[in-house]
């Protein structure tokens, strides 16, 4: 039995903001941006955050795995929606992990994902490690162009691994290339040339050398080098300094996604595994107040493992966004006239939220033991016509069930952060239905009978109290992983 990666997955939001749309707006102010208007960056929908993206990446990684076997969950992010509420606890509940699962948040550095991965691999417990980032950037900043929102997840532990851990090394250094404090919404960043010369080039190569030495692997034997940096040619320079071939440097996914912060090293690792062959050696490095280096060797299992959509699948599930003002609005970067209908109180009674968390967070309904009817929500009296049995229902989750549109509309009257509000009656394959919100959908693609999948999303934002509540929404089935 080896220790390593059992499963891997990713999530990239549907919308891809065209960098040209940003540059067209800000070139007048900062002409240096004009040369950066190529490609696109992943952009979270208004109803997504680090928690919801973590859930989707985790579901992707868990494709084909029994969730009951997950003993621990570590979610890494620097953009958690909650400072004091276990974000991983929301993720664990949405995933229906056992309540004995040890869930923890890992934060505060860009290498939180790789550090969590090292700790998980050393723990001996089957652990789900997720990196998720909904990046916060100032309008007209370089980071607005180079960042992207995404999540990646790795299921690690002992067993029939797809990639065996050969070695892992860490260095800590209070090298502050940027920071974000309690008092700041956005990063404050130092000069890039200094970060490159005194940071990446001084901190990363020694850790890499230590890691390779511990595994007794020569630098030139590394097949894929996963290293996240948006600075030009830095990955190649680090590779060269550590003695690796330049060809080993993995595509940083900059052109179509952007740098997803904490998630990015894990995302590059997941992407590398998608195309890996048995025997490949993958080195992943996380950088931030020091560096983490992990070296994996791909096993034969890679050819037969169950896969979700993965990085490539989610990159292909894509909608070009050319409205920069939509990005500003989603990220609270512009004061919008949202209309009086947006003033409706969205307070969530926390006692009711807890009482109903299986319904709301897990999307559990019921299955009647007497008549077999599936239904949502689970109630004390069965809805089956001619049944009406009392207390007859076992919990039944609809989260992974395919639904079909029974009726729909695109509502321009009600308040939505992204009008029109699309919603309708979703009918599940084997029974059960619910009138629910749709997300990641084009109005023109709505039709009765269309296949829909369930996605965990923000239901409402209570801006008066700094709270958000979550529920499941229906999204078009296009781009869903095939079973097996």
């Amino acid at each position: 039995m080896s220790v390593g990666i059992l499963g891997f997955g990713a999530y990239v939001p549907w919308k891809r903001l065209q960098r040209k749309a940003i540059v067209d707006q800000h070139g007048w102010f900062n002409s240096a941006l004009r040369s950066q208007g190529k490609g696109e960056r992943a952009m979270a929908n208004w109803d997504e955050d680090a928690v919801t993206m973590a859930v989707e990446a985790a579901r992707d990684a868990l494709t084909g795995f029994d969730r009951a076997g997950v003993r621990a969950l570590r979610v890494a992010s620097t953009t958690f929606p909650f400072l004091d509420r276990l974000n991983a606890g929301i993720v664990a509940d949405a995933l229906e992990l056992s309540d004995e699962t040890a869930a923890s948040d890992v934060a505060a550095t860009q290498r939180a994902g790789t550090s969590a991965l090292i700790d998980a691999l050393r723990s001996g417990q089957r652990t789900l490690v997720v990196g998720s980032e909904n990046r916060r950037t100032k309008a007209a900043s370089t980071h607005e162009l180079t960042s992207g929102d995404a999540a990646a997840a790795l299921l690690v532990g002992e067993g029939d691994v797809v990639a065996r851990l050969l070695a892992a090394k860490t260095r800590t250094a209070d090298f502050v290339d940027h920071y974000r404090s309690m008092d700041n919404t956005f990063d404050y960043q130092w000069e890039e040339r200094w970060i490159r010369d005194a940071g990446y080039m001084k901190v990363a190569p020694p850790v890499i050398r230590d890691c390779l030495a511990a595994a007794n692997v020569k630098p030139e034997e590394v097949t894929t080098f996963c290293f996240a940096s948006t600075l030009s040619k830095v990955s190649q320079a680090v590779a060269k300094a550590a003695g690796m071939a330049e060809a080993a440097v993995a595509d940083p996914l900059y052109a179509g996604l952007g740098d997803s912060g904490v998630a990015h090293p894990l995302l590059l690792l997941a992407a590398a595994l998608e195309t890996a062959k048995p025997g490949d050696r993958i080195l992943v490095v996380g950088f931030g107040q020091g560096a983490d280096a992990l070296l994996f060797e791909v096993t034969d299992r890679i050819t037969s493992c169950t896969r979700g959509l993965g990085v490539s699948g989610y990159l292909a599930r894509r909608k070009e966004e050319t409205q920069y003002s939509r990005f500003l609005a989603f990220n609270g970067l512009i004061e919008m006239e949202r209309g009086m209908r947006s003033e409706t109180d969205k307070q969530t009674p926390l006692s009711a939220m807890w009482r109903n968390h299986e319904t709301v967070t897990r999307f559990n309904g019921g299955k009647c033991r007497k008549c077999g009817t599936l239904q949502f929500p689970r109630t004390r009296i069965c809805v089956g016509p001619n049944c009406g049995a009392i207390d007859s229902q076992d919990a039944h989750s609809f989260a992974d069930t395919k639904g079909r549109i029974n009726s729909y509309t695109a509502d321009r009257l009600t308040y939505s952060p992204d009008p029109p509000a699309c919603y309708g009656m979703i009918q599940f394959e084997d029974g059960g239905r619910w009138m629910m919100d749709f997300t990641d959908v084009d109005e023109k693609d709505l039709q009765v009978g269309a296949d829909m999948r369930m996605m965990f999303r923000i239901k409402d934002i209570d801006s008066a109290r700094g709270f958000r509540r979550y529920f499941w929404k229906a999204a078009p089935m296009a781009g869903v992983a095939k079973e097996g």
């Binding site: 009086m340 409706t344 009726s407 695109a410 509502d411 939505s416 009138m435 009765v448």
Partner: protein, 401 residues
């Protein structure tokens, strides 16, 4: 089946305020406006009323909770007064309370009054509201047009109707109601429109445009009921009596069970059948002379024609376009303008429909009077959403028929 309400209760008097944007009126003033007309029509005094029911749906926008606002506004003499709320079907619920009180013998004369003061929200359309603690966590933030618009998607899918055909039939419905409303001095909207106006109006919730939606109005309507015997003793002739009162309320089947296809109102189909049985009507298409239905949206009226068993399934589009439901058609629908143009002050709407029946059957409907003097009329008052709602049907007619 129970013996029912047929001919046990007569309408003694009715009143209805002008509907519309009544910027200078509180809800209490609107109540008094409808009441003054009703009590004068009944020819009685306030002290003769034994019990009263108040219908309001969005009370937080105007009078607040309880029946106290009605008792105070009308200065009712410490009698039993009850407030009822059942979504947009509240008005008919107040009527039902008063009728049942008389039928039971608990009251000789009872009053039902519905009122809504909606135009204090600061924006057009119905007020945006919460739906209850748990519902708020899982329901879409849907608007009323958004909920009802879905009938169109499901209806098209079921009957294979082309979107433009359905949209034209819906447009015909709105044009017809505007034609009718133009003849009604109490109506909120009195302008005539064309098919093109409807089809080209701004989209509210696909496929409902602005002119597929009813008016949001302030207004009040009132009924005073008694037994036929007392009505006669008070000098009334040509009595209008209640033939049937039926309510059907969704039990979750449409919302939670896949047996419902989304294209019709399960409640209306049940309630109308029971009402016909209670009233002794065998062939509604032939026997019902006049209908007032809950045309909150054009598509609601269209599918309701089938749910009332007047148009055959999938045939409503054709009956509508043939003019079957026009003011000069076989069974006029919304001859007063309906919710669409008379307006929709929620708690008042069910009573407003009965008010029109009462006027038409007495030949008092003025310019819009149906010349053949209708004898059997049906009102259909609906509250909620297609997938979970309250449907209230009443049938009224000439006493003795």
């Amino acid at each position: 089946m129970a013996k029912g309400i047929r001919d046990k209760v007569a309408i003694l008097g009715m009143g209805c305020s002008k509907f519309g944007e009544r910027w200078d009126m509180n809800a209490e003033d609107l109540m008094v406006e409808a009441y003054i007309e009703a009590i004068a029509d009944a020819g009685i005094e306030t002290k003769q009323i034994d019990a009263a029911w108040l219908a309001t749906a969005i009370e937080e926008q105007h009078v607040g909770k309880s029946a106290v606002p009605l008792a105070m506004a009308l200065r009712l003499p410490y009698i039993p007064v009850t407030r009822v709320e059942n979504y947009c079907a509240s008005g008919t619920e107040a009527f039902r309370g008063a009728v049942y009180a008389v039928a039971s013998g608990a009251a000789d004369i009872a009053l039902a009054l519905g009122v809504e003061k909606l135009k204090d929200t600061g924006y057009g359309g119905l007020p945006q509201r919460g739906r209850g603690t748990l519902n708020n966590m899982t329901w879409p933030n849907s608007s009323a047009p958004g909920n009802f618009a879905q009938l169109a998607a499901a209806y098209r899918a079921k009957h294979g109707s082309a979107p433009q055909d359905l949209k034209r039939a819906m447009a015909h419905i709105s044009v017809k109601s505007h034609d009718n409303g133009a003849k009604n001095p109490k109506a909120h909207l009195r302008n005539k429109i064309t098919i093109d106006t409807v089809v080209n109006s701004p989209m509210i919730a696909e496929p409902l445009g602005l002119y597929d939606c009813c008016g949001v109005s302030d207004g009040s309507a009132c009924a005073i009921v008694t037994t036929p015997e007392i009505a006669r003793s008070l000098g009334k002739k040509d009595l209008i009596t209640v033939k049937a009162l039926q309510v059907a309320v969704s039990n979750g089947t449409e919302a939670q069970h896949n047996s419902w296809d989304g294209s019709y109102f399960a409640t209306t189909r049940v309630a109308s059948k029971r009402a016909y049985e209670e009233a002794g009507i065998r062939n509604p298409r032939e026997e019902v002379n006049l209908i007032e239905v809950h045309d909150c949206f054009s598509v609601t009226e269209l599918v309701t024609m089938e749910d009332l068993h007047i148009s055959g399934e999938g045939r409503a589009i054709f009956d509508v376009l043939d003019g079957f439901y026009d003011a000069a058609g076989s069974v006029p629908c919304q001859i007063d303008g309906g919710l669409k143009c008379f307006g929709h002050p929620i708690g008042a709407s069910g009573l407003r429909m009965i008010y029109e029946m009462y006027l038409q059957m007495q030949g008092r409907a003025g310019e819009r009077q149906r010349q053949d003097m209708p004898r059997i009329g049906l009102t259909h008052n609906l509250g909620g959403f297609p997938h979970q709602n309250v449907c209230s049907i009443s049938i009224v007619g000439r006493y003795g028929d």
